[in-house]
């Protein structure tokens, strides 16, 4: 697989191909698997993503602690806001839905991780459904997202424990932005700018889950991460270029992650987890979970 987006973009542009095409080709060569088989696996992932969106949108799920659940349904049925009736609100709803399913021990696709699993399905299926784009293009988009995630894994990290939330929902936003730009007809170079635009907006984002649980703020970080992805998509498709190449933005994310204090890397030692309310809620809810387990 490619370890640089610049190399993948150059390959695709020189051959008149999409990023998904060169990604699928590289994956096939690396692992000796036919492209049709790889696409079939991605197709199953897409089906699970869609099921998670539908399951979460129903609104009847609660997490182990009871701290999250039911908010996706508020975006679907609740009072209108300035973005009602737009794909934007629908994407936010889908991000919350998938992450509420995850928190309630439902089935999700860890793409790139379980904690950041809401962004990709929200942005990709949300925009595809709004535009009447079919599953073949969505499967290609997942391949492009996989390529971007592979580059991030290689150059930086996809783990909140290693790099904070910028490595989970931040990376997910970059993956979703680049993939969606291809799905909506952008060039490989525009995909690169979308990745850079999304990830520059999440640099430094800490991982600070209450009580160490993948619930709060994780569920909402997936919605705000999706919003950043949408902003990046809109800008990249408008022809806006980000001066720092995506690879260097990704490298920066890795560097910040390595320098990030351990309190901000999934340990619940800092950030929102360490606020007075965060500590109180974690204490109360963990006691409640223990009681219900016995």
């Amino acid at each position: 697989m490619y370890t640089s987006l610049a190399a993948a973009i150059a390959d695709a542009e020189s051959r008149g191909l999409t990023l998904s095409a060169v990604a699928l080709e590289a994956e096939s060569l690396d692992h000796g698997r036919p492209i049709a088989e790889i696409r079939a696996v991605l197709g199953r992932a897409l089906a699970v993503m869609r099921e998670a969106v539908a399951r979460g949108a129903a609104g009847d799920l609660r997490s182990a602690s009871g701290l999250v659940g039911g908010d996706a349904a508020k975006l679907r049925d609740g009072p209108a806001g300035p973005l009602s009736g737009t794909p934007f609100r629908d994407v936010l709803m889908r991000a919350l839905a998938v992450q509420e399913v995850n928190a309630a021990m439902g089935v999700i696709v860890a793409a790139p991780t379980a904690g950041g699993a809401g962004v990709l399905p929200a942005v990709l299926t949300g925009l595809a459904d709004a535009r009447g784009i079919g599953d073949d293009a969505l499967i290609d988009a997942l391949a492009t997202a996989g390529l971007i995630g592979a580059v991030v894994a290689e150059r930086a990290s996809l783990s909140g424990a290693e790099g904070g939330c910028q490595a989970e929902t931040g990376a997910a936003a970059g993956m979703a932005a680049g993939a969606a730009v291809e799905m909506l007809g952008g060039s490989p170079a525009q995909c690169g700018h979308a990745v850079a635009l999304a990830q520059q907006g999440t640099l430094g984002l800490v991982c600070d889950p209450l009580g160490g649980l993948v619930e709060l703020p994780c569920v909402f970080r997936n919605a705000t991460g999706s919003a950043i992805a949408l902003a990046a998509i809109e800008m990249a498709l408008a022809g806006i270029e980000f001066a720092i190449p995506a690879d260097e933005v990704i490298d920066t994310m890795g560097q910040i992650g390595r320098e990030m204090d351990v309190r901000y890397r999934e340990t619940a030692g800092g950030g929102l987890a360490a606020t007075p309310t965060g500590r109180r809620l974690a204490r109360e809810r963990l006691v409640m979970i223990k009681r219900s387990a016995t």
Binding site: M1, H31, A45, V109, G211, G212, K290
Partner: protein, 224 residues
């Protein structure tokens, strides 16, 4: 080499790849050691598994693995209730399996018993659903379960490796990796063999009858 299918996956029951999916895989491996759902299981949780395990469903995921459920099986959520129905008598305790810097924070020791056979396994969940089994029945091992694995302890005699590899070849099993270690010359030799095809019951039987093989276990691969 990173695969795009590792990035877009695994499909799993939430909420955590390390505390839920990895924990389930460890349960599946412990089940493997007694060839089916154990009647009794004692699960000792260490570190972060002990501290935040309940909130992440680590207990349910391990019980689900012991019942043979895979990480993407939504029955994991109700695995503790199902275990009671299936006659799996389980206990969970929190323990300290070693010093913080020596033992991985997500580590568990599982003791399983089925039809009079017992096995004890210690393993850790490394993140992103990846796991390592570090000890089986008191023997130190390193099994990642990405491939089918045979672990065995044999007397350190000339030709033992050749005999084992020949047996596997005769049964049509291709070896991917093999590691042999021993504590001292003439002491027990320890073999961890990763193979491409699932080794059948006959393979294990053929190895187990060798008089110089003290102990052999087969672990099926459990994909994340």
């Amino acid at each position: 080499m990173v695969s795009i299918l590792d990035i877009i996956g695994p499909v799993m029951v939430g909420p955590s790849s390390s505390h839920t999916a990895g924990a389930c895989r460890l349960g599946l491996l412990a089940r493997n050691l007694v060839d089916g759902t154990p009647q009794r299981a004692h699960v000792e949780l260490h570190g972060s598994f002990a501290r935040t395990g309940e909130g992440h469903g680590t207990d349910k995921a391990i019980a689900g693995g012991l019942l043979g459920f895979r990480p993407d099986d939504d029955r994991l959520r109700t695995a503790l209730e199902i275990a009671e129905g299936e006659g799996l008598d389980y206990t969970f305790t929190k323990t300290k399996l070693g010093e913080e810097n020596e033992v991985h924070p997500n580590t568990v020791r599982i003791t399983v018993e089925r039809d009079g056979r017992t096995a004890v396994m210690t393993g850790s969940s490394l993140g992103a659903g990846r796991i390592v089994v570090s000890e089986i029945d008191g023997y130190p091992v390193e099994v990642h379960a990405d491939l089918h694995t045979i672990v065995l302890v044999a007397e350190d005699i000339p030709g033992s490796i050749a005999r084992i590899t020949t047996l596997l070849a005769e049964d049509g099993v291709n070896i991917a990796t093999i590691r042999v270690s021993r504590r001292r010359r003439g002491g027990d030799a320890f073999m961890v063999i990763e193979v491409d095809e699932p080794p059948g019951d006959d393979v294990r039987a053929h190895i187990a009858v060798l008089s110089w093989v003290r102990w052999v276990r087969r672990l099926e691969k459990v994909n994340a």
